[in-house]
Symmetry: D2
Subunit: 339 residues, 4 copies
């Protein structure tokens, strides 16, 4: 029985981690902390946890955390994680960080996008990017996993097979992404007031979203080419889910059947990636699951290849993938508590 702590327990991601862990037979939640006024029972903060989890959510105290748990999920804002993670790692705790702090390997890129000086550069080098489909073996041995961003998870899983198989003519890649509101985190901003979002739809941060360099980093690493893609996210009035419609140029001579075979072979042993042949991915099919659903559509007349993928931003895009990483790090079956 592994003792687990969740730091940042009151955000949407922290909440979702707790929800999943309550179903996990091999761990026990032993520590909860968040930025709150005063310590209080977690089921006063989230009444739906009544009779399910009898634990206080505390104000973070590193010494206490260390004494209480062996593995920590950090569901903290960017630029906060890198102050907490090293303190836990120094005591041989395992850490799964859900912020961006350990994802971007090039510190000047990190500092440009997150507008802060990184103060834990040593651990950036050691951290493993927590996408099991790409780095499973490294994750098993890691002490610090940088859990991928939600948009990058869907984008990288969608493009990996094409890039590795060299099925694209060039690197002109356009990602038109649509996300539900929990992706924005739990913040009291007028921008996210119900009546501003409901019955509305808007693009934001066109080619200036902080997940763009994260996607570019991973795709460039795989292809060993500098990839600059276009990335336009949109807010959709739903709670959960991301759908990405990706446009790229196919290598000449390739056909729909060939591309499908590439995807199916690439993901044939993956427990959480599904290739759809008869229907297109929808948000509904992935919400509440840890799956990433992918379909591809080649239009030879227009010389364009369209990839559609969908994930639940809080599961495969955050908490679910984090637990998948924990399962790997702890030697549990990879799908435990996730099916």
């Amino acid at each position: 029985m592994v003792k687990v702590g969740v730091i940042g327990a009151t955000g949407y991601t922290g909440e979702e981690i707790i929800r999943i862990l309550l179903r996990h037979p091999n761990i026990k939640i032993t520590y909860l902390a968040a930025k709150i006024e005063k310590e209080q029972p977690i089921d006063e903060i989230f009444p739906y946890l009544s009779s399910r989890l009898d634990l206080n959510c505390e104000i973070l105290d590193i010494q206490k955390a260390i004494s209480k748990a062996d593995l920590f999920f950090l569901a903290l804002p960017h630029t906060v994680s890198f102050k907490v993670a090293p303190l836990l790692l120094a005591h041989n705790k395992k850490v799964i960080d859900l912020s961006a702090d350990y994802r971007i390997k090039n510190l000047s890129v990190y500092e440009f996008w997150y507008k802060t000086k990184h103060t834990d550069t040593a651990n950036v080098k050691k951290s493993v990017y927590g996408l099991p489909e790409l780095y499973r073996e490294k994750i098993k041995k890691a002490d610090l996993v940088a859990n991928p961003g939600c948009y990058p998870t869907a984008a990288i899983l969608s493009l990996l097979p094409l890039l590795i198989s060299e099925s694209l003519e060039n690197t002109a890649i356009i990602i038109d992404a649509k996300s539900g509101l929990t992706g924005a985190g739990r913040k009291a901003s007028m921008d996210f007031f119900f009546s501003e979002i409901n019955e509305n739809l808007k693009p934001y941060k066109i080619n200036s979203h902080q997940h763009m360099p994260e996607i570019e980093q991973e795709l460039s690493k795989i292809t060993e080419k500098k990839i600059l893609l276009s990335f336009c996210p949109h807010l959709i009035p739903i709670n959960r889910g991301i759908l990405e419609t990706i446009y790229c140029v196919p290598r000449s001579g390739i056909d729909q059947e060939k591309i499908l075979r590439i995807y199916k072979k690439f993901y044939q042993t993956e427990p959480f990636v599904r290739i759809f042949e008869k229907s297109l991915p929808t948000i509904r099919d992935v919400v509440g699951t840890n799956f990433c659903d992918i379909a591809v559509k080649l239009d030879k007349q227009r010389d364009i290849l369209i990839v559609v993928s969908a994930i639940d931003n809080l599961l495969k895009g955050a908490a679910g993938q984090a637990v998948q990483n924990m399962n790997l790090m702890c030697g549990f079956p990879e799908t435990t508590a996730l099916l």
Copy 2:
């Protein structure tokens, strides 16, 4: 051409007043003010006003306001209006106040519910409660109209015919009210974050909502009895609209036909009250209109009378009724800009 000012122009109600006034042929918007950081074009705040209204929204300056307009809508929070209204009235301006500040005639009741000492008691006495169906003639002559609350508008219009015709056995009245989110105003509170409201439904302030004494005041005045009703409001994940389901005990001997006749006769000349016989009111039928739709259903076996009514909380429940009041005060046809 009457020159009109809107003070509190950036809330949902102020925004809606502007939207209606842009269609009004007899007035001109000449002054806009709101609690903002700095003066700026109104179409920077509300891009949908681009090319429709070329006016700055200013920080309130009473002297300037007085010099610019003849009639003012105050779309201000409770306890702010009573500091602004007397300054305008002192200069012979007409004022339509959309806050609760001039609705409650009994100051101790006001002070209990709004937790503030009222500092403009003289004008409370002079103000007219702006429900045209009840006080049309007084409104025509008023300088200060206290525009009714959204819940009270639907409740009073639903119960008036029954009470005046003495069709109820007793005063045991239960109002189960459901409201869209714009009723909560434009406030950056986590309670109203999209994902907290969407796919959710919750009751709030059971028998402790500040609109309850407003309804009781008006119904008691009509019946000359002390009426204490139960009032349970619920937040519904829609932008606009209120639906009230009202339960009361019919006088014995009365039947469905008789009650319908009472309602139809009572409202036969009213331009904005519709009695439905063949279908039940829905939010959809009133949103975007100034109508209040009402249906009644008598269950003789269970000895209960159920009244259902619906309004658009921002129109008949606020801005629409305010313009209806303006039309009366200025001698314009009552329905101008409202159909």
Copy 3:
């Protein structure tokens, strides 16, 4: 390992039963049937089941069903179940019926509300009403369980403690119920087209909903008095969840503390009923769970007692409760697959 069949697998309830059963360690889904054009893999009908359930959904063939499974969930429309259940029971299969066909004990009441002659009256007598909080011991021994309706589950659980403890002055009970759309089933009716429901809210079947006599039957049985209540349901633009606001008259002398004690004692060992003291139930807190959350609010001044309860209509209101019943019938721990 119990072999389980789901008949009516393509409705919302059937779908939800499958979803829960996939997490159940003691059973195996061995048979699926529905009213479809032709047999096809269930994951073609529900792509989200891809890689999770490799089974065809068939056109119902009773002989085949009998040969394939030991226990059946009937997620069929009313008046269809009573043609299927006896055929399964005759072969010693256990049946959990989610329609209304075996809930109403008085056949003339059934026939009045469901407009059909019942053709399996023998099994109506033997069936057990599947509300574990009321009939747990009988359910354990039952071959045929009539799973309660969604509205009745919330209503009965809300009123049971008050009625049994004789805390009400009289039987004047008003239930104002609000339900999400999955409660309406999966039917291609224009009434349920997205744009007719979204941003709308409407009451329907006021005092004429078929769940009213079901609630009255159970409450009358408990109190041994004829209870006639008012029941007004409303459609809310959300997918899942029911919230009921119940108004009744408290026995004089009773107070809030006393009532709370009654509820807490009554449900102290129940795994799926939670009494809230500090906050009110919301849809959000129960969606995705098998809980029924209840709060009570006594207003002594107005002499009224308000009970608020919430359930997920597809879980505690249908599929969840059905699995809870299966757990009882099969001797599994009652909460298996439900937490």
Copy 4:
């Protein structure tokens, strides 16, 4: 006072035409028809029209229609309009057709996409494509206007200035479109059941939507080049509104300022096109209006130009533009009833 008939009055578009016309001072609605069981008052079909329009909706009778009105809106399904329009035109009536029947000039293209033989080819030639920004003078003189599709209206208005000014490097144009549900029409299909759409998001008809050739036709005509674009529409869980995110390759040397100047000059006298410089278009800003809002964003580093545009699919995308066309055809001020 022009007498106007609406044929197809009960769909979303017909309903919206009625709503607008009720505010129009120069016309009178004198005839309504739809595919219904039997003639009935329009306010029984749409209770929100109670006390606003006292007219029956009839089963279409061409002779009666001809005797009742001078100008007709045909809000009929594709392939039905071309059977009705010629009968009206033969009697010198003016017709604004909202179906696709007269939009596509190349009949083999029409017949490929709409799977029907066109039987009114003569009028296809005479009809004018009703986009006032492109064909205003022809519309003024037209007897038959083919009102543009919703997606094409936003797409063509977005791309016109770029194509006419030759600001694009090539014709590789990608349109990622998002639409609310009223765009799907009022059809009882399980695909559009509330719970299938709500909290969901899905692409459909990727590069196979019938609006794609309509956009291609108009853009090819303007540029005198064969344009083949990619078009991927998505269904969004909102009632109204279309947002299109369009990706194309800018001519080298061009910059953001230059492009903005092109758009602003191109549309400087247009009453219903707004170019946004400080913010991006949103659905919220156009819903309920006849505006098309457009913004452009050039990314020189990635060599991509992104155009975002938004319209209300029922207004500028259908009924609003139809009334705009009527205003032009009848010599009324172009914005009458539309501001």
